[in-house]
Symmetry: C2
Subunit: 210 residues, 2 copies
């Protein structure tokens, strides 16, 4: 058995105090080494490939290219890299956008260094670390409305409608007749107070019925 090479960390964060603080603490209290720090993505983009980072700690509120937009660009430069977002924003949209664009973890800025170091370990082990409030937001975003006016079958059909299936496909998938699908659809429209597929999809998304 031989010792693993240290994992390489890069920090992109515009606040110098936070940047250097985290860098110092990670270097001195963990088996990881901070190989570079940058105050912005634009400052990092031409050099970061040479740093060969395993993990990037990325702020969202950066001057120039913001963290969300930087995500896909970093992924393009370094397809294997894990990216942990660090931010003061914790709106649902920001969190979901970050995760949609390839972030591996998400923490708010008051996160103690110990937790962050644990998160680095987690992503390297294939996990997806998040602070509890972030996790809660993510879970809520997945939650369906428990007070749906629709029956089980109707919900099922609405679900298929929202993923773009037409009557024929739905009928085939559920082993029922097209006319039955039509009947259910009509009932769905009545209950949701709409009169088209498009509107139904909007209401479904809006009220989290599917």
């Amino acid at each position: 058995m031989y010792s693993q090479p240290e994992s390489r960390i890069v920090i992109i964060e515009d606040d110098q105090t936070i940047r250097e603080g985290y860098a110092y603490l990670i270097n001195h209290t963990s088996p990881y080494q901070v190989v570079a720090t940058y105050p912005s993505f634009d400052a990092a983009k031409h050099k970061i490939s040479k740093d060969q980072p395993d993990v990037i700690i990325l702020d969202i509120q950066l001057p120039g290219t913001n963290g969300i937009d930087a995500l896909p660009l970093l992924k393009k430069l370094l397809p294997q890299v894990y990216i942990i977002m660090l931010t003061v924003y914790e709106t649902e949209k920001t969190i979901l956008d970050a995760l949609a664009n390839g972030a591996s973890g998400y923490f708010t800025k008051n996160t103690p260094t110990a937790k962050l170091i644990e998160a680095i370990k987690d992503v390297l082990n294939g996990g997806g670390p998040m602070s509890p409030d972030v996790a809660k937001t993510v879970i809520l975003s997945l939650q369906k409305n428990p007070d749906s006016p629709l029956t089980k079958r109707e919900t099922q059909i609405l679900e298929l409608i929202t993923i773009g299936k037409d009557r024929g496909q739905i009928a085939k998938e559920l082993f029922i007749e097209v006319e039955t699908v039509k009947t259910h659809t009509k009932n769905i429209y009545t209950k949701l107070n709409v009169n088209s597929k498009a509107e139904a999809i909007q209401v479904a998304k809006d009220k989290r019925l599917v």
Copy 2:
């Protein structure tokens, strides 16, 4: 300042060893009390309201009504209760279904009791605890395809299409002409090799383009 009343825990789990093991450990190593345990939802449904649990630890593979189906029913009986799923299944569908139906947290069965107790604390504090692998699965489910063939504008329009907006609404929302929306749509169809909105939505979902 007076001390908080102990939080009340109920465990629903068919394996007697696991059920009693967790109950014992939670009772003896944490400030929480297990007020009842049941081997199934069906055994629990008529009594659990009287237990007044704050947190339910719920297994998925139960005899009779399974854990996923039990979720909305438990939520109906006890709207305020937090439910932590405990299971050997960790397929994406199972995890997402559980969270969609109102689970507050999700752990695999090999989770040490200490982590579970921490999870109880987390949900009571409004967090959304998950084991790292579960979190990873959730994050992956939110991830977009980084190699989309679509431009930014096209992705944006496809996104609006998938949430049921028609040409007119899209045009208004993006401050462009309906004809421009049509042009983009045509280009999207060409790139995705489809020739209808419905197909485009299916491909979009399938390839996680939105």
